[in-house]
């Protein structure tokens, strides 16, 4: 019996140790930054000397998809890396696994005194409720949140006009679906006017993408059908693949995703089916270059601009707490970027039509709905 108790005890201790390994903010950016191993990890190691040299210390809490999604989180990381090299700041980041961890990661950064963080960046709309609780508890800590509005004097909120950018890629899809078009590994199915949308988690944010996309498709072709599926997860590429394959098999030829890492499965499905996909957040024909042969375009959302701007404001002593900054087409917060490999083969008249719509949206001639219920 003693032996059993021992085994059980050591097993539980081992599990606890392993569980400990997986949590907690990761130290420094250098360790998981394969592109430019600039070794800031060393600077972060001895925080006291580091904070004396740098102009600001920033904590970043990423969304649940984690880094390496080639999408939302990577775009945010790009912003903080740009700030690191241009504004001489130092940063630490945390990659929560679950929504329930947001609160504690935010608190860890807010409580930390070594280094004392000048700004905590909360990436993603799911952090709203955690931040709404934390912000009043740490009135001296500056926060910024992307994709949501938290009305507290110490929180700067950045939201995007996703529906405007999605409208343009919707129009692109609507124009191409009835044309004979083949490029890279994909081709359209001109007999059917059918396109698809794969969303991550239902909510007002992804609803903006869906609404804009549907409106854009309708503007290009009023008879086109939009198949719309939510996978229920931003990090389930297998689910994304199944959802997109179902659409391609029932006649869709272009699928747009707003689903973070789940979208990788959409690209995988596009390759398998020989159809096209539209990326999101970053130029995914670059960040997911394996799939450049099926990515027509990406609806780029400049999360990096939001992160960089907020850090810059803090460095300049102009933190805009309590303000909401909206980054739409007009502010270059969202834009359509054609695929690296396929973009050149999309005909000029399609591109000029999209350019015209872009101007019309900026001028207020087209109003884009932000809620799928209003399309």
């Amino acid at each position: 019996m003693d032996r059993r108790t021992f085994i059980r005890g050591s097993g539980i201790a081992g599990i606890a140790a392993l569980a400990g390994c997986t949590g907690g903010p990761t130290e420094g950016s250098g360790s998981n930054d394969s592109e430019n191993g600039n070794g800031t990890g060393d600077g972060d190691g001895d925080g006291s000397s580091g904070s004396a040299e740098v102009s600001a210390n920033v904590g970043v809490v990423y969304a649940t998809g984690g880094l390496g999604d080639g999408s939302f989180n990577d775009q945010a990381q790009q912003g903080i890396q740009q700030a690191e090299s241009e504004l001489n700041i130092s940063y630490n980041d945390a990659q929560p696994d679950e929504v329930s961890q947001f609160k504690s990661f935010q608190q860890q950064f807010a409580q930390s005194t070594n280094p004392d963080y000048d700004l905590v960046c909360c990436i993603g709309f799911l952090q709203k409720s955690a931040l709404a609780e934390n912000a009043p508890d740490y009135p001296d800590q500056n926060f910024m949140i992307v994709d949501e509005v938290v009305e507290e004097p110490n929180v700067a909120s950045y939201v995007f006009g996703e529906e405007e950018g999605s409208f343009l890629v919707g129009q692109l899809a609507g124009l191409l679906t009835t044309r004979e078009f083949s490029a890279g590994s994909g081709s359209t199915n001109p007999d059917r006017a059918s396109v698809g949308f794969v969303g991550g988690v239902e909510g007002s944010l992804i609803g903006k993408f869906e609404a804009g996309f549907i409106a854009g498709v309708a503007r290009a072709n009023a008879d086109a059908e939009v198949q719309s599926t939510y996978v229920g997860d931003f990090n389930d590429p297998a689910g994304g693949k199944e959802a997109a394959l179902a659409m391609y098999n029932s006649g869709a030829d272009i699928v747009y995703h707003a689903a973070g890492n789940t979208g990788t499965g959409v690209f995988e499905a596009a390759q398998e089916a020989g159809r096209f996909a539209i990326g999101v957040d970053q130029d995914q024909s670059k960040t997911k270059s394996n799939y450049a042969d099926v990515i027509l375009a990406s609806m780029v959302k400049r999360v990096d601009t939001a992160v960089y701007t907020s850090v810059e404001n803090v460095v300049n002593g102009e933190f805009d707490g309590g303000n909401v900054t909206t980054l739409g087409l007009e502010q270059d917060g969202v834009e359509v970027v054609y695929g690296q490999q396929l973009g050149g083969q999309i005909s000029g008249d399609v591109k000029s039509e999209i350019k015209a719509s872009q101007q019309a949206i900026i001028d207020g001639e087209i109003s884009v709905p932000a809620d799928p219920a209003n399309v």
């Binding site: 059993r4 649940t64 990659q95 239902e202």
Partner: protein, 353 residues
């Protein structure tokens, strides 16, 4: 006496409810066939497509393999609720090995090996050291849940690995793959064929070989098996290792057919190991039954995706997503008739020492 009456009454209510459900399904199908433009008709039209069957087969692979593994372990008397962990570990190791070795088949092999090793550890803890099987099974799951994302973090700098270039591809049987609906059976990933082969072999091994009889006896009446001169411990080791091999195929197939391991949250396995347990219990420890109940779940999952996209039923999409889970619970409650092996969960000590 009154107890017996009550239980008989309970049974018949259950049977009545089961009959009612069956009648409702039959009515639905009939309505669908009679009126192709009604909602049931539309549902049937998206359900009976080649693409839905193909998706069902793909979604079944990890669950069916894990269920087969669970059958062998539990039949021999060792309840292996660590199947989820075995799937996770093999899913990660397979992608890593395929990435390093450059071949998905090598990845599959190494993934199976990793899962077998972890199952071996579980077997030693349960059989040699007589740990509680449920606790040890949970430990297997938790170890894998921590270890795989941690290793991915160390190697790839994040809980998700990079995407692999190659994949299994598909094996297409000419002519047969042209058949509507059932053609999907002849136009599939090699792991789908492996799954069918594994189900057939498992059924044969359990029902037609002496090893199968030993496994069953070890779970039902280990003392009798011991008396007959067969080493119960050895049979149980073999069965648990076999469950590791089978679950390893499932986990490796899951990650390799996507070309990436996802380690965030509940990882890409996301409960498939636990669904596998339900599948083999519902299948009453019969490999073929387990496969069929896997098909039920996977088929409803494939249907759910199509119902969302086609917007046939006017309910929120998050509700549509729960269809497979709700259906499995209902079916399990109404039709499940599982008899757990007599000695499952008990340690057996030979009288000699």
């Amino acid at each position: 006496m009154s107890n017996a009456v009550a239980s008989r009454a309970g049974l018949s209510t259950r049977r009545l409810a089961g009959l009612a459900l069956g009648a409702a399904v039959a009515l639905f199908v009939l309505a669908g066939v009679a009126m192709p433009d009604s909602t049931p008709g539309k549902v049937l039209r998206v359900a009976f497509t080649k693409s839905a069957l193909a998706a069902t087969l793909r979604l079944s692979v990890p669950i069916a393999f894990a269920a087969l593994g669970g059958i062998f372990a539990e039949k021999s008397g060792v309840i292996n609720i660590g199947l989820e962990g075995l799937l996770i570990i093999s899913a990660f190791v397979a992608v890593y090995a395929a990435d390093v070795g450059g071949s998905v088949w090598l990845g599959l092999l190494v993934g199976v090996l990793a899962s077998t090793l972890l199952a071996g550890l579980f077997a030693v803890v349960c059989i040699e050291f007589r740990a509680d099987q449920i606790i040890a099974g949970l430990a297997v799951w938790l170890i894998a849940l921590g270890l795989a994302p941690f290793a991915s973090q160390a190697i790839y700098g994040g809980p998700n690995t990079e995407s692999l270039e190659g994949s299994f591809g598909t094996i297409t049987v000419p002519v047969l793959s042209e058949i509507p609906f059932f053609g999907a059976l002849f136009d599939a990933n090699p792991v789908v064929y492996l799954m069918f082969a594994a189900v057939g072999l498992s059924w044969y091994a359990l029902n037609r070989t002496s090893f199968g009889r030993w496994v069953v006896a070890s779970g039902e009446n280990p003392k009798a098996l011991d008396t007959a001169g067969v080493n119960v411990t050895r049979v149980r080791y073999a069965a648990v290792l076999l469950s590791g091999v089978l679950a390893g195929f499932g986990g490796a197939a899951l990650s390799l057919s996507l070309g990436q391991f996802i380690g965030n949250g509940a990882t890409m396995v996301n409960g498939k190991g636990f669904i596998a347990i339900v599948a083999y219990l519902f299948g009453n420890y019969n490999p073929v039954g387990a496969l069929l109940s896997t098909f039920l779940f996977a088929g409803l999952d494939a249907l759910q995706i199509r119902l969302q996209a086609a917007a046939i039923i006017a309910v929120p999409q998050s509700l549509v997503r729960t269809i497979p889970y709700v259906a499995v619970i209902v079916v399990l409650a109404l039709f499940g008739r599982t008899r757990i092996p007599e000695a499952a969960g008990d340690h057996y000590e030979s009288g000699e020492d």
